[in-house]
């Protein structure tokens, strides 16, 4: 009996442990690669409507730290990018993907990246 309980407990631990561990990760749950291209598309569209001067992004993930980006994306404060209206129109998943991209390459990440 004890043996069965032990086996059951170990299996539960090994099944759910990794799940919890993954969820314990601080970062957003988006696809950062997709987020990079979504971001570029938004800026391109914004440029076409005259919202920003440059068709390529001028704001880079390496501009700010992860904590600072968390503030921006959780409060949906997109002033720095221009075209607030277009950003508001993005789906939650898209926002999450873009946030994942900025989080992955932020100033204090292992690999800060600039655009362009």
């Amino acid at each position: 009996m004890i043996k069965k309980m032990l086996i059951f407990f170990t299996l539960t631990l090994f099944t759910f442990g990794p799940v919890f561990a993954a969820l314990a990760d601080d970062g957003p749950d988006g696809n950062h690669r997709k987020g990079k291209y979504t971001y570029r598309k938004v800026i391109q569209a914004c440029h076409e409507t005259g919202g920003v001067d440059s068709p390529t992004p001028t704001v880079s993930p390496a501009d700010m730290t992860r904590a600072e980006w968390k503030q921006v994306f959780e409060n949906r404060n997109f002033e720095a990018f221009g075209c607030q209206a277009q950003w508001d129109a993005l789906s939650d998943q898209d926002i999450l993907d873009i946030y994942a991209y900025f989080y992955e390459f932020a100033k204090d990440s292992p690999s800060p990246a600039t655009c362009g």
Partner: protein
């Protein structure tokens, strides 16, 4: 009697004066009709637009596939350009080393060469240098044909990584992104060109760690220069690409100077149309100035570049010195940079202290086309300034000319016991840029080159010379005689072994001359006075 003598005198004086005036006016009058030979030949060379292209690569079927790696792109190029990769891998642009005249020693970044910038490539184990290697992935794999032949810059590495990550994802958004990426790759692969200045410049303008650091006469200002910066590469003018002068034979590109000159002979193309175009003489001939001018008499002793490149780094600044002794200082435990006046960094924790300058007057030395280079295995005298690379040449060498150079000074580490320069490993997790431990960096670095290290290092002053040959100014901006043929501030003050009128003088000859002139004047005066006062009673 008197009157006839006067008339005789005046007629002859008038005739003499007329002849003198005609002589003075003569030569300059003739020169304005004839164009200088050098200009005439050069104009012929750039007359008309030459189109050598016979193919539009976007119409080649095999280039319309979905590429997933750089090697795949190159293999596709090779289906038509069968020998290109084989040729290229034999050249120094791939191997980064070439045998020197010393046995067992290889010149080049992958060899035993040392400089006073980032010092050594550490047999290519220092991955930081490899971003300029012409392969897709460092020294492995295929040649990256597009680094030289791609008309459009494209982020291949990042794109291939993203494509690999998106593989098998059926999200329609991602499918759209994948299609766009493939289109982008195809467009970049089909946009093929003979190498443009921006292709060569991607590496050669930015060597040593940034724009304009190393050469002084090669930086991003040459991507689209105007005529004042460089008459040959002027974007609105002749618009030469690098390969116009740096011609290639089986991907061997002319212009390398380590121990052998870039060109074996100085010949103009009218003497030999297969001659290399790398020398000025090939298009301009050895007597390019207006006929009968003194300047044509200089071409056997003074290089064209000396007068025609009055200053280098005329638009972007260039680095003039690099002091490694101050490297390693940290702020709050982190490396930092400090910017200086010219907008360039003057201190970097990873590298040390720099100085920069613009509009720099070159230093001049005798130069026969070869350099003497100190490598990792050569013994040095740490009590003197070590000339890591200096030009060779003497006044009596018929191949030597006075040539302008950029001299970069530095302080770099050396082995105190073995008296040799050392090659610290810089990039990577164990390199100096991460550990800031110079002793460890030297230990690891010397190991890569199989050179023993005693464990004791110190710093020595060094210099490194670059020949200045680009940024040719227009003719009206070339140096005037007075810049060199002047007593005190001559640009050639450092050139010894020859006599230069205006700069040099023989004191004895001058003294004798002065005595002769003053003596003659004194003699005439005394004689005249003597005759006047001792007229011996003759009154007329």
């Amino acid at each position: 009697m008197e009157f006839r003598r006067c008339k005789w005198f005046f007629r002859h004086a008038a005739a003499g004066l007329t002849v003198l005036c005609l002589l003075a006016a003569g030569p300059s009058g003739a020169a304005t009709d004839d164009e200088a030979l050098g200009m005439k030949l050069a104009k012929q060379a750039v007359r008309g637009d030459k189109h050598w292209t016979t193919v539009d690569h976007s119409r080649i079927e095999i280039l319309n596939q979905e590429f997933t790696s750089g090697d795949q792109i190159t293999r596709t190029c090779l289906t038509c350009h069968t020998d290109a990769s084989m040729q290229f891998k034999e050249t120094i642009h791939w191997t980064w080393k070439v045998p020197s005249e010393k046995e067992g020693i290889m010149n080049g970044k992958a060899g035993h060469a040392v400089n006073n910038f980032c010092i050594s490539g550490n047999a290519m184990e220092d991955k930081g240098c490899l971003s300029c290697h012409a392969g897709w992935d460092g020294t492995d794999g295929e040649v990256n044909c597009l680094s030289c032949h791609g008309a459009k810059k494209f982020p291949f590495k990042e794109t291939f990584a993203d494509l690999a990550a998106f593989e098998g994802d059926d999200d329609p958004d991602i499918q759209e992104i994948v299609n766009e990426l493939h289109t982008g790759i195809r467009q970049a692969v089909q946009n093929i060109t003979l190498p443009q200045r921006s292709n060569c410049g991607e590496c050669h303008f930015k060597g040593g760690g940034g724009d304009g650091v190393k050469h002084g006469d090669l930086d991003t200002s040459l991507a689209k220069p105007n005529r004042m910066l460089d008459v040959h590469m002027a974007a609105e003018g002749a618009d030469f690409s690098c390969t116009r002068c740096h011609t290639t034979v089986k991907h061997h590109i002319a212009g390398r100077l380590y121990t052998r000159p870039a060109a074996a002979e100085r010949k103009s193309l009218i003497e030999d149309d297969m001659a290399s175009k790398i020398t000025c003489e090939s298009c301009h001939s050895a007597t390019p100035h207006n006929a009968n001018t003194k300047m044509n008499d200089h071409t056997d002793k003074v290089a064209c570049q000396s007068c025609h490149i009055p200053e280098y780094a005329r638009v972007n600044p260039t680095k003039m010195s690099w002091d490694w002794t101050t490297a390693g200082r940290l702020k709050d435990g982190k490396p930092f940079d400090e910017k200086g006046d010219l907008g360039k960094p003057v201190y970097k924790s990873i590298k040390g202290t720099f100085t920069w300058a613009k509009n720099v007057v070159p230093e001049y030395y005798w130069y026969n086309g070869s350099f003497e280079n100190i490598g990792i295995k050569d013994e040095i005298d740490p009590q003197q300034v070590v000339e890591v690379s200096h030009p060779l040449g003497t006044p009596d060498d018929p191949n030597a000319r006075i040539h302008p150079f950029k001299i970069h000074t530095g302080k770099q580490p050396y082995d105190k016991v073995n008296k040799q320069l050392v090659a610290p490993l810089l990039s990577g997790p164990k390199g100096f840029w991460t550990t800031f431990d110079m002793d460890e960096a030297i230990t690891l670095g010397n190991q890569t080159l199989d050179v023993p290290y005693s464990g004791e290092f110190d710093y020595v002053e060094t210099t490194y010379a670059f020949p200045i040959t680009h940024m040719v100014a227009p003719a009206e901006e070339s140096l005037e005689c007075i810049y060199c043929h002047t007593r005190d501030t001559s640009r050639l003050a450092g050139i010894t072994g020859i006599y230069m009128p205006g700069r040099d003088k023989f004191a004895i000859v001058d003294t004798i001359g002065l005595i002769a002139v003053l003596g003659a004047l004194a003699g005439v005066t005394l004689h005249g006075l003597g005759r006047f006062f001792t007229r011996n009673g003759r009154e007329e």
